[in-house]
């Protein structure tokens, strides 16, 4: 019997989702429980499992389209089955030789009306146990009479799950759907499994302080992309942020003296330009920080392309200064200014936005001291720059006023460890604190 494929109601806040892609093609065999298609909600991309075993006979919704939750997007059936067109498929006589489709027929073998096609048959005893143990019946294999899930089947499932993680699948699913980080959820008792109830309790706390009178604004494509990529980055990386306080007094003085030497036509270098220059040179010395990744492998490159974060009306964009390690300060300043201008007025091109091997993001102008920037995939690290402020410090054993700032380096611990990252940061810091060392082309790291 034909089984409808529908969009599950996994998002708390959206009536529609985007069908990102089908994982199977028409004519492919699908198995109950196997991932069949991918949807994008406002929080994350999710795999959705096939509701039945059979052949993917029809695809109704195309990838990239927005679809309503609970709507039908496809049909699974046996190979030779006639699938009626139009709303509500009419019941067809059951072919005796067909593959068993447990959720499509009633116990007597009679075809079910459409609204019952996705029912799971389980005995009351099995349901009771499943509810108690927070088992999703859709994940249990039925061995009872008339393809009904019986108690024994739930017990078998529980046995298999015994070695599994401390979060119930239901809880995990719910947390994902609502974008709740499981690390923020407390189990009911210490050491117990995190259940859906625990997730919902955490969610309730979060919702309790949600503002009233919310006006929902649709996401721009840019926003959507950022949203997706941020989530992807978080999912794909084990991000750690190192923070260092830097005495930038020397750099400040250096810049002042340089500015005195410039003509009217020259672009005045900003601190960012100095940082791009310093960072680019250090990236040459630390190829693993300059690396990119496709999730499985690390891509090392001789070239250093530094992306700088620009805050535009449309959102954050990161145009790339290519081969930044080979460009002089004024050239960097010029290029960067150009890129920023084009980013701001929207004329930036995709080529100018791609290919970066590292990103610098500066929130110092907005008064931020330190923060935890998120890595820009496929890169493996990002440097966050805080504001430069006058503050008391110890310099040459004496208390005086110096120009201090924080650097926050976030790196992907999956591919770089803390020590190497710290060494890169230390090298960067040293050149900021002692800019004259640039002349000495120091290449060793300070322990």
């Amino acid at each position: 019997m034909a089984v409808d494929i529908t969009i599950p109601p996994l998002s708390q806040t959206m009536d529609t989702v985007i069908l990102v892609q089908w994982l199977k093609a028409v004519g492919d065999e699908v198995v109950n429980g196997e991932p069949l298609f991918v949807i994008e909600t406002d929080k994350a991309n999710l795999d959705v499992e096939s509701p039945a075993t059979g052949i993917l006979r029809r695809i109704i919704a195309e990838p990239g389209t927005e679809v309503k939750v609970r709507s039908k997007i496809g049909v699974i059936a046996s190979p030779d089955e006639i699938i009626p067109q139009g709303p509500g498929p009419k019941p067809t006589p059951e072919p005796k030789a067909a593959q068993p489709l447990p959720t499509a027929t009633g116990p007597g073998g009679q075809p079910l009306p459409p609204e019952q096609r996705n029912r799971i048959f389980a005995s009351p005893r099995a349901r009771r146990l499943a509810q108690q143990e927070e088992v999703l019946l859709a994940e249990v294999t039925a061995t009872g009479p008339q393809q009904m899930i019986v108690e024994q089947d739930v017990r078998a499932y529980l046995e298999a799950r015994r070695a599994a993680p401390e979060v119930t699948p239901v809880a995990r699913r719910v947390a994902e759907a609502v974008g709740l980080n499981l690390t923020t959820v407390v189990p009911a008792r210490p050491g117990a499994r995190i259940t859906r109830a625990d997730v919902e309790a955490a969610l309730a706390k979060r919702e309790a302080v949600a503002p009233a009178g919310i006006q929902w604004v649709d996401l721009s494509p840019t926003r959507r992309t950022i949203a997706r990529r941020m989530a992807e980055s978080q999912q794909a990386a084990a991000e750690v942020t190192l923070t260092r306080e830097v005495d930038a007094t020397e750099l400040v003085h250096l810049r002042e003296r340089i500015l005195e030497e410039l003509s009217e036509r020259d672009r005045r270098p900003a601190y960012n330009d100095f940082l791009v220059s310093i960072v680019a040179r250090q990236l040459k010395q630390h190829p693993y920080v300059n690396a990119t990744t496709n999730g499985e492998r690390i891509g090392l490159s001789e070239e250093v392309h530094v992306a700088v974060a620009v805050d535009t009306e449309r959102g954050l964009v990161t145009p790339v200064v290519r081969n930044a390690d080979q460009k002089g300060l004024l050239q960097l300043a010029q290029e960067r200014a150009e890129l920023v201008r084009r980013a701001l007025d929207g004329s930036i091109t995709p080529e100018e936005l791609g290919g970066g091997t590292f990103t610098i993001t500066n929130l110092g102008t907005l008064g931020v001291d330190a923060f935890t920037p998120i890595i820009n995939p496929p890169q493996v690290a990002i440097l966050g720059v805080g504001r430069i402020r006058s503050a008391p410090a110890v310099h040459k054993e004496e208390l005086c006023v110096r120009q201090l700032m924080y650097l926050s380096l976030t790196f992907n611990h999956r591919f770089i460890d803390g020590a190497p990252a710290a060494r890169f940061l230390a090298d960067v810091v040293r050149l900021i604190e002692k800019p004259h060392l640039l002349w000495l082309d120091v290449s060793q790291s300070i322990p």
Binding site: S123, P124, R125, R127, R128, P145, M148
Partner: protein, 337 residues
């Protein structure tokens, strides 16, 4: 302990109760006649020698009078034990049982009690449709009547004594193939179980069932002859790795509901066996009770093994098809797995 047949156990119960209480007397057809059988199934054999014909009262073929006289005597202070020769004849006295005995106390606002016992043999024995019915269900449905169905010698004696001492009308159903009647009244194909019966005084309380065999995989509730069929089926199923729990309710009204519910909570599966037609029968009531009160513990649908909705036939080959047997019970149990 003495070993005896059910007929002997019933006779002993009658004797003991009549000795104990001079208000007790028997009334029915052919129960005290000199040189007679002692009732159709020998249960009253020899009693008139001890108690005389005034206390073992033979009647004309007048079922209405048997019931009516017993009711009137009970209302006026006696404790009669009446009987019909075949359970089928209960229908002849239906008004007296259903409209009079069952309702007398209620409609008088509690003024009178009707401490009457009516014994009735049931079951198919190749005598044709009007002498073969198992019709307990008609009587379990009438408020005001108690109904018992003993399947062993121990229970027969104990329950009959309890019935005599109960101040309400009690119908005692006995199965023809379980009596163990001897001589000219012996039944072909009878099971005639011999049971152990204590020498000392004992009663089996009305309203208490019993677990005949313990098991964890499926509960079978059965009565009278089908208890033995269920036990035989349980043996067959044990060899296939299925452990059957067999429950004999012994009293049909008031039912020992909790015994059945507790068993279903344990096993999750229920089969009810009865020698009675399927539709609207006693098994249907048990199924309804369990579906209502133990629904969440069920791991499979509830099955009834009953006689088909036809009158009981004469020909042995047809009767074999009609009555629930070991094979049908095994098949029903297997369908639940």
């Amino acid at each position: 302990m003495a070993k005896m047949t059910i007929a002997e156990a019933l006779r002993q119960a009658l004797r003991e109760e009549m000795r104990r209480d001079e208000r007790v007397f028997c009334i029915g057809e052919d129960i005290g006649i000199e040189g007679g059988f002692g009732g159709a199934f020998t249960v009253t054999l020899g009693l008139s020698e001890e108690f005389g014909h005034d206390r073992i009262l033979d009647t004309p073929i007048s079922e209405i009078a048997i019931a009516g006289v017993a009711i009137g005597a009970a209302m006026a202070g006696m404790r009669p034990i009446a009987d019909v020769q075949y359970g089928d004849f209960l229908f002849c006295m239906m008004d007296q049982l259903a409209n009079q005995a069952a309702k007398m106390r209620y409609m008088s606002g509690g003024q009178v009690a009707v401490p009457l016992v009516m014994r009735a043999p049931v079951g198919a024995t190749a005598r044709g449709p009007q002498h073969a019915q198992s019709l307990e269900a008609f009587f379990t449905h009438i408020p005001g009547l108690k109904v018992v169905a003993p399947a062993t010698a121990y229970d027969a004696k104990g329950l009959l004594k309890s019935a005599v001492r109960d101040d309400n009308p009690v119908i005692v159903f006995e199965h023809k193939l379980l009596y163990g009647s001897k001589g000219p009244r012996s039944e072909r194909g009878a099971l005639s179980p011999i049971g152990e019966v204590p020498e000392e005084e004992y009663l089996v309380p009305i309203g208490e069932g019993i677990v005949r065999r313990e098991g964890k995989d499926v509960t079978i509730v059965a009565k009278l002859l089908t208890v033995y069929r269920a036990l035989a089926a349980a043996e067959v199923l044990a060899r296939q790795g299925i452990e059957v729990e067999v429950i004999d309710p012994r009293t049909l009204v008031p039912l020992d509901k909790e015994l059945i519910l507790a068993s279903v909570r344990k096993t999750g599966r229920l089969v009810i066996v009865e020698e009675d037609n399927l539709t609207g029968g006693w098994a249907a009531e048990i199924a309804a009770i369990v579906a209502d009160e133990a629904f969440m513990w069920l791991d499979a649908p509830i099955k009834r093994v009953s006689a088909p909705d036809v009158p009981p036939p004469f020909a042995p080959v047809l009767e074999r098809e009609y009555v629930p047997d070991e094979e049908k019970i095994v098949a029903a149990v297997l369908s639940l797995f």
